[in-house]
Amino acid sequence: MHVNVRLFARLKDIAGTGELARQAPPGATARTVWDTLVNEFAQLRDYEASISVAVNEEYSRMDVAIADGDEIAFLPPVSGG
């Protein structure tokens, strides 16, 4: 299936883009998609323990099952205010 990946801040700098289209196998979770990205952009591994994930513009969990067409956003630690 097809998913749209969003990356922000330093993650976007590492990948060189904030929006990627990727394929994911049936039964994939957000973590499956993240692991794919880490394989592609090794520096992302530094964020393994600190990222948050949002699915379709709502905070979610790395182990959530994803569906075709989902928007999966990976968020480094936030610094608003």
Binding site: A9, R10, S50, E58, P77, V78
Partner: protein, 173 residues
């Protein structure tokens, strides 16, 4: 989100690249009586917080900041935070955050809270800024003399009750 929560029609949330305007937030929390006990009596106190870009951070001379945000999720996080505050205190709230390039001295965030009880207004206002820093998907890109760096604070997890209790404690209850 709990679908049984009380609707707060006058809560005002915004994320924008425009200059922020405190009067707009105060207007939002005091005007247009909504169908709540707060409005029936009218606010007795309004607290506000304005966050300003500083010219120094961690020993670096800051030149300017660029704020990036995941806008739809920012607004949902604002609603979540505002609802958390209104569930705990007798308040109407407003929360606006700016994105884009900000110069030293410009306001990045503004919060207002109105309540019949000043203790509630103070607590809610403080709680909201703490929660913004905990869970709102916004990032500061700091440009300083000699380089630039993405500032990374808290891992955002709205369901982390320890973080929420920290914010409640700092807010004074």
């Amino acid at each position: 989100m709990n679908d049984n929560r009380i609707v707060m029609p006058t809560a005002s949330y915004a994320v924008t690249t425009d200059t922020l305007n405190l009067e707009a937030l105060i207007e939002a929390v005091t005007s247009t009586p909504p169908d709540t006990a707060v409005a029936a009596v009218g606010p007795g106190g309004i607290t506000s917080f304005v966050g300003v870009v500083r010219n120094e951070n961690a020993g670096r001379r800051v030149l300017h900041l660029e704020y990036e945000g995941y806008e739809p999720l920012v607004l949902r996080a604002f609603e979540r935070i505002g609802t958390e505050a209104a569930d705990r205190w007798d308040v109407r709230v407003a929360l606006h955050h700016r994105l884009g390039t900000l110069q030293i001295g410009e306001a990045s965030v503004m919060i207002a809270a109105a309540s019949p009880h000043r203790a509630d207004a103070f607590a809610a206002c403080r709680y909201i800024i703490e929660r913004v820093k905990q869970i709102v998907p916004i990032w500061k890109h700091e440009f300083f003399e000699g380089g630039d760096v993405w500032i990374e604070g808290a891992t955002a997890d709205p369901d982390d009750d320890t973080a929420r209790q920290d914010a409640i404690r700092v807010a004074g209850g």
